[in-house]
Amino acid sequence: MTAYLIKNVSVVGAAPTDLLIRDGVVAEAGAGLTAPDATVLDGTGLVALPGLVDLHTHLREPGREDAETVESGSRAAALGGYTAVCAMANTSPVADTAGVVEQVWRLGREAGLVDVQPIGAVTVGLAGERLAELGAMADSAARVRIFSDDGHCVADPKLMRRALEYVKAFDGVIAQHAEEPRLTEGAQMHEGEVSTRLGLTGWPAVAEEAIIARDVLLAEHVGSRLHICHVSTAGSVEVLRHAKARGVKVTAEVTPHHLLLTDEKAETYDPVYKVNPPLRTAADIAALRAALAEGVIDIVATDHAPHAVEDKECEWAYARPGMLGLETALSIALDVLGPQWDLIAERMSRAPARIAGLEGHGLDPAPGVPANLTLVDPAAHRTIEPAELASRSRNTPYARMTLPGRIVATFLRGEPTVLDGKAVK
């Protein structure tokens, strides 16, 4: 195993130092390190962060390998600075059995670019009717701890209550896609002035807020952990703030696109901007940014959702919702939060690792810690070219935008997955 000596790197924004990576861990940290056997990397101007952890990734395998595979998604993740991703359950077949989650977990191991932690479905076939075998998935080799019907809301309040209670047995958490389905029938975009003008059926903010309100009350009632996926509205932030003040065990994520893009993007009718929950207003963005800084929202999660060309190059109403995120998330966070490295590390690595219960991830580079880390060049800017992305799909909403920051290298347990900005394998 090659040792790496990173010279003059700022660890999470601190004064420059050297890091020696050997045998899968950070062996030494401090100024003026030498190691004759090590490959030396010049870390001048770079920031070392704990490897990013994505709590919300769609890898599309099994079922839609034309859009993404575990391997291609893992490569995209590594290039984005990630060392672990949680793979959502809405594959085909759905990840609602031990067999499917173990398959995804095994494919992740084989790709070896990031740790792929499968998320299990809450209900059989994501149908929202009866619980999937949550315990079997928890006990499987994949050791599933997060359960989600993402893409669908667990709308039935009794079923949601039971799921919240049931996963306490193995310290699980339900990640809710908060969308009251009766209020979003046929919904195409945020309900507001733009949807009125464009004649697209609206997705009202209240459809998200009502479910979050219900679920924080349920979680409080049964004393369970609840995670809210992709919070998108100012009203949701208020509900979460209230719940957290009451001591409810709720965590929440926001996606990079909900921190940056507004519903006005729909005016082109280009479905690359179609996503669920939809892009909201500038006021929502302001509230989400403030909530992220304050901690009402715990983490940034990508909701990386690759789609084949034919599912996006069509009429808006017929397009599938979702956008790519893994390779651009850190740049968006840097753009939105500025160089607040401790905050970025907290929201994109430490907190998601804690929520997911991922051992060895979310730890700042320090002696003895598993060498899961990424090196960022904050001074670099890059223009996003869809064709250059590692994902199999091209549905990035940031095409031709120039974004700050570039991932220079990523290490997974001491092995480089990205060097000089390029995937190692």
């Binding site: 697209l200 059926t201 082109t268 069509c314 009429e315 808006w316 109403a317």
Partner: protein, 308 residues
């Protein structure tokens, strides 16, 4: 010069007025022995219809043929993302056929905008989902101007299912551009609260048809689909008709000069009674005839020169 006509918002007052003036000249052709002009000889107009709408398709077809264009009717009803060819592949086919203009009717809002990215020719929106229907608004404006002599300063009530109406959206945009005042009337479930901010500041909303009628020059009744009942937009057809339908007694509340419009097809007995539809105030038949002239004007404006 505009290249496509996708929305009422594409037309500024000068361009809209030019279309209406041109339409007036085109209308004279209808009265001639030779109902044909050579202006678009050698041009190809494709009618691409993903929804049944015989009246709109025939109107565009007559308009194109009177201008000597070659017309290809491409009925793609039933095509969708799951079966048949994608819109993009269809666009590439039309492109290969040398379509100079594509007139598109589509159930998905924004489909004409997408199409405009994929073809070199001009795209005319002939109705897209619940979005817009700009040539309908032009023919409505033309009809109002013909009957009442002006558009600026007119007060127009648009009554009914505004939420789902492409006719209403295009009319609000065009009429406000041309200086008319619009009041939208209907049950609150069918009128988006933000419609004025979304489309045209100064647009009023009322839930009381009787209160609005004495003050308007034009009342435009929108088609209300009975299936909206099932979605709880209103309790019953009977209650809808009672509150928002235009019947004889209500029509007599209108000023003497006021006209009654309907884009068709009508639900007689629902939003309009036969007595009103067949009254001298009704412009419903004229609207159809004016549709051909206005569409001739639009096609000429888009295709009559080198506008690339």
């Amino acid at each position: 010069m505009i290249r496509h006509l996708l929305s009422g918002a594409d037309l500024d007052a000068d361009t809209a007025t030019q279309i209406l003036d041109t339409a007036a000249e085109m209308a004279t052709v209808a009265g001639r022995e030779v109902k044909k002009l050579p202006a678009l000889r050698g041009r190809t107009v494709v009618n691409l219809f993903y929804e049944d709408s015989t009246r709109t398709r025939i109107s565009f077809e007559a308009a194109a043929k009177r201008l000597s264009a070659d017309v290809i009717n491409f009925s793609a009803k039933g095509s969708s993302v799951t079966k048949g060819e994608s819109l993009k592949d269809t666009a590439l086919t039309l492109q290969a056929m040398g379509a100079d203009a594509v007139v598109v009717r589509h159930p998905a809002s924004g489909a004409p905008h997408r199409l405009a990215n994929w073809v070199d020719g001009s795209v005319v929106n002939a109705g897209d989902g619940t979005h817009e229907h700009p040539t309908q608004a032009l023919l409505d404006a033309y009809t109002m101007r013909s009957r009442l002599g002006r558009l600026a300063g007119l007060h127009v009530a648009i009554v009914g299912d505004v939420l789902h109406s492409r006719v209403a959206r295009s009319n609000v945009l065009l009429l406000s551009t041309l200086g008319a005042k619009v009041t939208l009337v209907g049950p609150p479930t069918l009128i988006p609260v933000n419609i004025s901010a979304a489309l045209a500041p100064g647009t009023d909303v009322s839930y009381d048809l009787d209160a609005v009628l004495p003050d308007v020059d034009v009342v435009m009744m929108l088609r209300v689909q009975r299936e909206r009942m099932g979605d709880s937009y209103f309790p019953s057809a009977r209650e809808y008709a009672r509150r928002y339908g235009l019947d004889g007694p209500r029509m007599r509340r209108l000023p003497a000069h006021a006209i009654v419009m309907h884009p068709g097809p009508m639900n007689r007995g629902m939003e309009i009674t036969p007595e009103v539809a067949d009254s001298p105030r009704s412009t419903i038949v004229e609207q159809v005839a004016n549709g051909v002239s206005v569409r001739m004007a639009v096609l000429y404006l888009l295709l009559g020169g080198n506008n690339r």
